[in-house]
């Protein structure tokens, strides 16, 4: 116990009993070693903490217990700074059962010229250390989590200074976390309408302590991105989550576009269906009308034939001439009625194309010889030489030309000029039929190809509707130009070789 009395002397404690009781009642550990590390004394608390009894410890050196060389550090410190006689460090030791125990120690020494004995008070900080580790681990876990979020994630304090900026933000903005940390929002971003709006939302959330959501556009490498931002108030400021919703927006826009297209399609189909229904009705009516008119037409034609044979027996020359004239007019008008009926049936009947070789020149010549063009109409035909043989439906083509030429003739009741022009490109035949007649009014221009529309006082107004239908059937286009008082020109463009 010589050592203890010496210690009592050092701490100016008069009685060894007093010293002992202080040392022994302390819940912190206390030990004394010499500079070689040999234990000279230790209190019960230390014995309990390291799991060795007093006798065992006094046979041991501290190096056997130290995990990170506490004695060496203490000696190094005191030798380096002789004026400091107190040294606080954290050390780790190994208990008898092998478990580690962490101490925060306060060391001092005795000896004047040189260090003789080391006195150490040790406070068990194992639990604190463990908690610290847990906290550190959990913090890094959260950081990892925040960094692994594919959305942008940032935290700002009440002054809108950044206290966290995750990897996604680094990637999307090109600004690294180091540059952002601690900087206020407007130090990082130039003031403009977008950033002002963002700051406004941040401040609103700060003030109201309510979450906010807003969407903004963000340009990265000239690509527009649409960002949905969620702001959540936190204890010290706000947390911001930015989600790239460009893809969703594009999908949504596409969906809307598809929907619109579908609606348009339905509209067009409905329109077509309506037209088809209307045409079917016209067709049915045409069929009935056709049949009902053709029978009386047949009787009239028959009677006219009989009358013409009877006329031969008439002796009065004048009456005979007048009757022949009448019959010729009746015959002419019968032809006209017949044409109307044919137009009606043509328009309503389903088309069956019969593609064959067609010589356009011949067709035009034949039509003109068949139609009786009045003498006061000058006919001019310009057909580009070496016009290729066409492959198309002859009866369709004929009907198109007959109707257009008939219309042109009828547009010039006081005479004029009829010009038929045929030209071609490598695949398309272009036929123009022009008159110097009355012309078509602006109002009439919009509905000229519609069935049962007419500018003529008589007639069923199916001529151009039939033309349109037949040109369509030949995969062609029919257009026109017209000026009131100057005349009209219809242009038919059809494939020279029909694909059908």
């Amino acid at each position: 116990m010589n050592q203890v009395s010496r210690a009592c002397h050092k701490f100016e404690i008069d009685s060894e009993e007093k010293y002992r009781s202080i040392i022994q009642t302390s819940s912190d550990g206390f030990w004394i070693t010499d500079t070689s590390g040999k234990f000279l004394d230790a209190n019960d608390a230390y014995c309990n903490l390291v799991g060795y009894n007093h006798e065992e410890l006094l046979r041991m050196y501290i190096q056997e217990i130290d995990v990170n060389g506490s004695l060496a550090r203490i000696l190094r410190h005191f030798r380096a700074s002789p004026n400091q006689r107190n040294y606080h460090i954290e050390i780790r030791q190994r208990r008898k059962d092998g478990r580690h125990i962490d101490f925060e120690i306060s060391a001092t020494y005795s000896g004047k010229k040189r260090i003789e004995q080391i006195f150490v008070f040790a406070h068990d900080i194992t639990r604190r250390k463990r908690n610290e580790t847990i906290i550190r681990q959990s913090e890094s876990k959260y950081r990892e989590l925040a960094d692994s979020i594919t959305d942008g994630f940032a935290a700002l304090d009440a002054d809108l200074k950044y206290i966290y900026w995750n990897k996604t933000y680094e990637k999307t903005t090109g600004i690294s976390s180091d540059l952002v940390m601690g900087k206020p929002f407007f130090n990082l971003f130039k003031k403009n309408s977008d950033t002002r709006k963002i700051a406004l939302m941040y401040r609103k959330s700060l003030r109201t302590k309510q979450p906010e959501v807003f969407v903004n556009d963000f340009f990265m490498n000239n690509n527009k991105k649409v960002i949905e931002n969620h702001i959540y108030p936190s204890k010290t400021g706000i947390v911001v989550l930015s989600k790239d919703i460009t893809k969703q927006i594009i999908l949504k826009e596409k969906l809307e576009e598809y929907t619109q297209r579908l609606e348009d399609l339905v509209k067009i189909r409905t329109e077509k269906l309506k037209t088809a229904e209307r045409l079917a009705t016209i067709g049915e009516t045409a069929g009935m009308v056709g049949h009902d008119i053709r029978n009386p037409l047949q009787t009239i034609t028959g009677e006219l034939y009989l009358a013409k044979t009877e006329i031969e027996f008439l002796s009065d020359k004048e009456s005979k001439t007048k009757l022949i004239e009448s019959f010729s007019i009746i015959e002419e008008q019968l032809k006209y009625i017949n044409k109307i009926v044919s137009d009606l049936t043509d328009y309503s009947k389903p088309l069956m194309l019969n593609i064959e070789e067609v010589n356009l020149e011949k067709v035009i010549a034949e039509i003109l010889s068949r139609l009786s063009v009045p003498d006061d109409i000058e006919v001019k035909i310009i057909i580009r030489g070496l016009f290729p043989k066409m492959r198309t439906d002859l009866s369709c083509l004929k009907r198109i030309l007959v109707n257009l030429i008939t219309n042109a003739v009828q547009a010039m009741p006081k005479g004029g000029k009829l010009c038929i022009n045929a030209d071609w490109t490598d695949k398309i035949a272009i036929i123009k039929i022009a008159d110097t007649g009355e012309g078509i009014s602006e109002e009439a221009k919009t509905k000229i190809f519609k069935p049962l529309f007419t500018t003529k006082a008589k007639g069923q107004g199916l001529g151009l509707a039939v033309v349109k239908k037949l040109v369509d059937a030949l995969s062609g286009i029919v257009t026109f130009e017209s000026e009131i008082g100057k005349g009209s020109q219809f242009k038919v463009e059809i494939p020279i070789y029909s694909a059908l």
Binding site: G287, G290, H291, D292, I293, R294, N295, P296, L297, Q298, T299, I300, T301, G302, E303, Y305, L306, T309, L334, N338, T345, K349
Partner: protein
């Protein structure tokens, strides 16, 4: 059944339109034909069963049957009869299918002189 031995040519006209029957009767009588008429399918079949005509002029749409049905019956019993079909409804189904039995097909109105010309030619060859 009478044979076609007489000099006078015979024609049967089948149409439900009385004015057509009337005018064609006069047209063909003038041309020296012996004319028989029928207003419906049943009537025409009765008459065709008792006599073989040189010519049959048949409308397609009859009140009780299609003229084309009569056509096939004539084809079976009297193939040498010249069969002419005329119609006011040119796009009825089945009309063109019977083409093989027809000697001619017309859409009303048809000029009588055209029928007469065709008959002259056909009768000469038959």
């Amino acid at each position: 059944m009478n044979l076609l031995s007489e000099q006078k040519r015979t024609i049967i006209i089948v149409d439900d339109d009385k004015s057509i029957l009337k005018v064609f009767t006069r047209v063909f009588e003038k041309k020296g034909y012996q004319v028989t008429t029928a207003e419906n399918g049943k009537d025409s079949l009765d008459k065709l069963g008792h006599f073989r005509y040189n010519v049959a002029l048949i409308d397609v749409r009859l009140p009780d049957m299609m003229g084309t049905d009569i056509l096939s019956m004539i084809q079976a019993t009297s193939p040498e009869t010249i069969k002419i079909v005329f119609t006011g409804s040119p796009y009825l189904d089945g009309v063109t299918e019977m083409n093989q039995y027809m000697d001619a097909f017309f859409i009303k109105p048809i000029k009588p002189e055209l029928i007469i010309d065709i008959l002259e030619e056909k009768l000469k060859t038959k």
